[in-house]
């Protein structure tokens, strides 16, 4: 761990939640989102991205709300990590690339997803990152005007929680 990564962990109070979430040993495998899994969203595209040592697979999905202009997109990046700890470490690696020194916890903004979750600053929810078990999800809207990410976050979190065994 570099000093800079350490400082990011400090500002996110990493030690308070890393590896301490519920069902810390649960290991989701082969998690995928299919086109009919989220009925309020149209899955436009998905593509694999190169994983690092902490992940088995990274998949980027592009959705748009089913009843909206197809140009209004939500980008979901799914990091299937080797362990809960790796998911939490990946979360830190991702937010270290954000210019904001710290992101607010989602529960302070009325969003209850994942084991640990951070959202954007401000009234419009266009960015959220959360870890559930060994899965890390980063969600971004493509416009400051939305679509907002909260409902999609809940939908994906539901899919993870209900992912069928064997894990």
């Amino acid at each position: 761990m570099t000093e800079r990564e350490g400082s990011v962990k400090a500002s996110y109070r990493f030690a308070e939640w890393a590896g301490r979430t519920k069902e810390v040993h649960r290991d989701i495998r082969h998690f995928v989102i299919n086109s009919n899994d989220l009925e309020k969203y149209t899955l436009q595209e998905h593509e694999d991205l190169p994983p690092s040592d902490r992940q088995r697979r990274i998949v980027r999905y592009i959705f748009n709300p089913a009843d909206e202009d197809a140009r209004r997109r939500l980008i979901a990046t799914v990091f299937e990590c080797h362990s809960v700890r790796d998911a939490h470490e990946t979360l830190i690696e991702v937010v270290a690339h954000y210019m904001a020194p710290y992101l607010p916890r989602c529960e302070t903004k009325g969003l209850e997803v994942g084991d640990i979750c951070f959202g954007g600053h401000g009234p419009v929810s266009i960015n959220v990152i959360f870890a559930r078990f060994n899965i890390l999800i980063e969600l971004k809207s493509t416009s400051l005007d939305g679509p907002e990410v909260d409902e999609l976050a809940r939908g994906i979190d539901f899919l993870i929680v209900n992912w069928p065994p064997p894990f």
Binding site: E3, R4, G6, S7, V8, K9, A10, S11, L49, P50, S52, I58, R60, R71, R73, I75, T77, F79, E93, V94, A96, H97, Y98, M99, A100, P101, Y102, L103, G120, H121, G122, V124, I126, N127, K140, S141, T142, S143, L144
Partner: protein
């Protein structure tokens, strides 16, 4: 008795030597996925964009540039004809040249044709559609007969594109993309120096592309976690307004400026500034004076307040205090008091990071130096004093991110 013959042009090769960029065109491709076959022009192509070629001013200056053309021929009583082409725009007309034929095809198959009238080195960066009106006459004939008009799109850049763009190996998905040259050569049109080109591109990115700052988190939207710049998506945004949308962070802006500038021959890299970290302390980054972030209506701060964990820009040299930088993400206060209204918009182009990095803080007003960090940071130890060059991200190929 004059010879009776018919000549047709069937193929034109601009990049006929992939190991050279001095006497022919650069190695280019269409985009990440699609190559550009050589010869670039073949019979049946009618649109200039179907036959692209790119030339570098520095590498071709003083050199004899050639194209190679293939002709077909029919005649009952001779084996030679003269060929020429009028027009040609910046590549110029092609002087009359005797072509020998072996049966129905020119010999050699691709005939070198020097472009003695090219004016590539005049006028700086540009993109121009050219047309050659090909003509021929058989041995002993006085008048010229038309063949056909061929159309080509010619990109001119200052120098051989710098990384991430590469000439070798070829073909390779990091060879310069004409889909990106299409924008870079317009944004930097007419510029004859690296600094002017990078400045023009920075200005275009900041002011004319509809991009807006990610005020909620400052996240990157076009740079992925593997450090790659998602140029295909960004080009889609430029073309259709979709891609990954119009929200950007500083990492995106630095990648865009660096990638497009280096495509036309600049030598930038995306590099960061931040507070020096000691141990596992809890830095909130460095404090800002009010800025005008890209796409925002006025001076102010992001939703989280007046601070950055880090900031990233297109930087020259070793990204040190005295190296000029280019920042499309943030407009700073260029007035004599950078830390208070009134705000005088100054887009940071070709501005050194700090003219006096060790100056005692707070700095006094009037402050007149053309110096970046003093106009970005708050006027105290937590602002200016905590904003230091820290180099590029580790996965960014030294700030020259691969494109995908």
């Amino acid at each position: 008795m004059p010879c009776d013959c018919t000549v047709n042009v069937v193929a034109i090769s601009f990049n006929h030597d992939p190991l050279s960029s001095t006497a022919d065109a650069l190695n280019v491709r269409r985009n990440f996925k699609d190559t550009i076959p050589v010869p670039e022009w073949t019979a049946g192509k009618t649109l200039p964009e179907e036959s692209p070629a790119a030339y570098a001013i520095a590498e071709t200056s003083g050199q004899t540039i050639t194209i190679k053309a293939k002709f077909t021929f029919s005649s009952a009583n001779c084996s030679q004809a003269e060929v020429r082409a009028d027009g040609g725009g910046i590549l110029g007309a092609i002087a009359p040249q005797t072509v020998t034929f072996s049966g129905p095809v020119s010999a050699p198959e691709f005939v070198p044709m020097p472009l003695h009238r090219q004016i590539i080195t005049n006028g700086g960066i540009r993109v121009e559609d050219i047309a050659w009106n090909w003509q021929y006459r058989c041995s002993g004939e006085e008048s010229w007969r038309p063949i056909e008009t061929t159309h080509h799109r010619i990109y001119v850049v200052l120098e051989r594109p710098k990384r991430p763009w590469q000439q070798q190996p070829f073909p390779n998905n990091q060879n310069p993309w004409t889909d990106a040259l299409e924008y870079a050569c317009v944004w930097a049109c007419g510029k004859t120096t690296r600094d002017d080109a990078a400045a023009a591109i920075t200005e275009r990115v900041n002011g004319n592309l509809g991009l807006t700052y990610d005020v909620v988190s400052g996240a990157p939207h076009y740079v992925s976690t593997d450090g790659v710049f998602e140029l295909t998506r960004f080009l889609d945004y430029l073309k259709t307004g979709v891609g990954f949308g119009n929200i950007v962070g500083c990492t995106d802006c630095a990648a865009i400026v660096t990638t497009f500038s280096n495509l036309v021959g600049c030598d930038l890299h995306a590099s960061r500034m931040a507070r020096e970290v000691v141990g596992n302390d809890d830095p909130i980054g460095f404090f800002l004076t009010p800025i005008k972030a890209i796409g925002q209506p006025g001076f102010g701060c992001p939703n989280w307040g007046c601070s950055f964990r880090f900031h990233e820009v297109g930087w020259t040299g070793g990204a040190d205090d005295d190296d000029p930088l280019f920042d499309a993400c943030v407009v700073v206060n260029g007035g004599s008091d950078p830390w208070a209204p009134p705000y005088t918009a100054l887009l940071p182009v070709e501005i050194v990071f700090s003219t006096n990095p060790g100056a005692p803080l707070p700095l006094s007003v009037p402050y007149t130096a053309h110096s970046y960090k003093e106009r970005l940071g708050a006027n105290d130890a937590a602002g200016i004093g905590s904003c230091q060059p820290i180099g590029p991200w580790g996965n960014s190929r030294n700030g020259r991110r691969l494109v995908r």
